[in-house]
Amino acid sequence: MKNHLEEHEITAAVAGLELEAATEEHLGSCVSCRRQVSAMREVIDARLEGLEAEAPDWERQRQEIMLQLPGTPMARPRRRRWTRPLLAVAAVLVAAIGLRALWAPTPVVEPGVPSELPVEQILAEVDAMLADDSIPGFELIDQGMDDAIFENGTS
């Protein structure tokens, strides 16, 4: 069992900081040290009570805020950052497939023979494009993900 807590340990206990196990244990069993901690906390708690006595009527405050909302423009949720590049890539793919179909030589259709699209070839091209990791736009997905969250709170 350790001797009485040192000043910095009492201070840490008052502040609610993490304490070593031995310090916690001593605090749990030593009336004198516990008294030092609680004495300061009681004063702080009493100050908090005084502040709470100054607080407004919460329901009235809430109603006043709610009255302001209908006339207050609200920002809509931002699109996620990856949606734009993804949409851009999808548009490029669709355009590429469409152009390819337009520019491909028109097959000579023998009378009485049903025409056939080169389905297997188109699918192979699409698969090849989707498998390509260097599709433009995707490198932007994670860019800026480390932006400070505090952007949200800045005024």
């Binding site: 000043e7 910095h8 009492i10 201070t11 840490a12 008052v14 502040a15 609610g16 900081l17 008294r35 030092q36 004495a39 300061m40 009681e42 004063v43 702080i44 009493a46 100050r47 908090l48 005084g50 502040l51 100054e54 607080a55 407004p56 919460w58 405050q61 809430r62 006043e64 805020i65 709610m66 302001q68 909302l69 209908p70 207050t72 423009p73 609200m74 920002a75 809509r76 949720p77 931002r78 400070a148 969250i149 505090f150 952007e151 949200n152 709170g153 800045t154 005024s155």
Partner: protein, 194 residues
């Protein structure tokens, strides 16, 4: 974050989602849950006379910007940050000192903590405690601004250390250090060392 705070944060997320889709009732519930802390934060920065207006302003601002809230931080932390910035903007605008000094309730007393009886409920105890509180208020003013700010956010706005760090954009280690220094100084001033 302790489990109860995690539950609160998850419940906040559901309300935020609804509020982002224009549900005013959901935002009203968020106001219910957080208006006390917002007011208490504003109280520390702009004083009792302007705390109500600043708190309302902060909550309406939060509504206008809720579409930008991306849930990377807890809603309460994001809201606290808005409240702090609202107060600082107001203080800058008025060119006033950052933390308003409170009126003193009594003369400075020494060794008040030592003199507090174990049971502060009796008349003598209440009187002693009142003096100790007055002394605390006075000595809070002598703390460096950052220490004072962190002390008040910790004990009066009842914020977790990590929340304070996020709201003030400082490392949590800085919060711990400053808080420790603040408590140490206040205990010393109130005469805890004998």
């Amino acid at each position: 974050m302790d489990p109860s705070r995690t539950d609160l944060s998850q419940a906040d997320d559901a309300l935020v989602l609804r509020a982002q889709n224009g549900d005013h009732d959901a935002f009203g519930e968020l106001v219910n849950r957080h208006q006390r802390r917002v007011w208490m934060v504003c109280r520390q920065y702009v004083g009792v006379g302007e705390a109500d207006a600043a708190a309302q302003d902060s909550l309406v601002k939060a509504f206008t910007r809720i579409g930008d809230f991306d849930r990377r931080a807890a809603f309460s932390t994001w809201l606290t940050r808005i409240a702090i910035n609202t107060c600082l903007d107001e203080l800058r605008r008025r060119r006033r000192e950052a933390i308003v000094d409170d009126e003193s309730e009594g003369d400075e007393e020494s060794n008040l903590l030592d003199r507090l009886p174990d049971d502060a409920a009796g008349p003598e105890g209440r009187s002693m405690q009142k003096q100790a509180v007055a002394s605390l208020v006075e000595h809070e003013k002598t703390l460096p601004p950052r220490q004072r700010e962190i002390f008040r956010l910790r004990f009066y706005a009842e914020m977790e250390l990590e929340e304070i760090a996020t709201a003030l954009d400082v490392h949590v280690g800085t919060v711990k250090t400053q808080l420790h220094r603040a408590v140490h100084k206040l205990r010393e001033e109130l005469g805890a060392y004998r």
